[in-house]
């Protein structure tokens, strides 16, 4: 089934591989924590996740990039979606645990490129479904 392009779906990311200025993308600074904080503000305003924020079998602080897919509240209802709220809190908790353990840090250009590529690949299916996927800048 082909999903119609949803004008209320956005991708919040700090991954430069998606390319600048893309429709439906919101670019954030500040590593994965910065991306989660922006998602937190949206979830508090009634937005909900369309893809699980803790994708990839890494603690999010090990991975310099994070790409989150969210949908705006419909109509005037901005009440918090509890499922998204729980997922968000779990993600933030995971970040805090990672920061306390000094995860991440410099890993070289080759690793950085691979992390960026892997981030795009793990979100490929999700973005495809919501018509936000396009070949990334390599």
């Amino acid at each position: 089934m082909i999903q119609k392009t949803a004008s209320h779906v956005i991708c919040v990311t700090n991954n430069p591989d998606w390319g600048p200025g893309r429709d439906g993308f919101e670019y954030v600074d500040g590593g994965p924590w910065g991306v989660f904080k922006r998602a937190r503000d949206l979830v508090h305003g009634g937005w909900r996740f369309l893809a699980h924020p803790l994708y990839g079998n890494f603690n999010p602080m090990r991975h310099p990039y994070r790409t989150l897919l969210l949908e705006s509240p419909s109509g005037g209802d901005r009440s918090v979606d509890m499922e998204s709220f729980s997922m968000l809190e779990a993600a933030l908790e995971s970040c805090r645990a990672g920061m306390a353990k000094n995860y991440g840090g410099e890993s070289g250009e080759a690793a950085r490129r691979d992390f960026a590529k892997l981030d795009c690949e793990l979100m490929r299916d999700a973005l495809n479904r919501y018509c936000l996927w396009a070949p990334v800048i390599s």
Binding site: D41, G45, V80
Partner: protein, 75 residues
């Protein structure tokens, strides 16, 4: 914090957005707020409408403080 203050015998009202969480942590007097980013306001309303909303919530909270309860109550 709600539970700690109540432990000293001071009645307390929890104005909060996510009522299920407040119930789970054991707050006894709960007044639902507007939204997490603006619990006692609404930037989409006019200043006068916001004031009225804020006043209503605060008055409800004050009334809850004075209301005897026997179990967790959402006002």
């Amino acid at each position: 914090m709600v539970k700690e203050i109540e432990r000293y015998g001071l009645p307390i009202v929890h104005i909060c957005t996510i009522v299920p969480i407040s119930l789970t942590v054991g707050a006894n007097r709960i007044v639902p707020a507007i939204a997490i980013p603006h619990p006692l306001g609404d930037p989409t309303k006019t200043p006068e409408e916001e004031y009225a909303m804020r006043r209503a919530i605060v008055e409800k909270a004050l009334s809850a403080l004075q209301t005897p309860i026997t179990e967790q109550t959402v006002f």
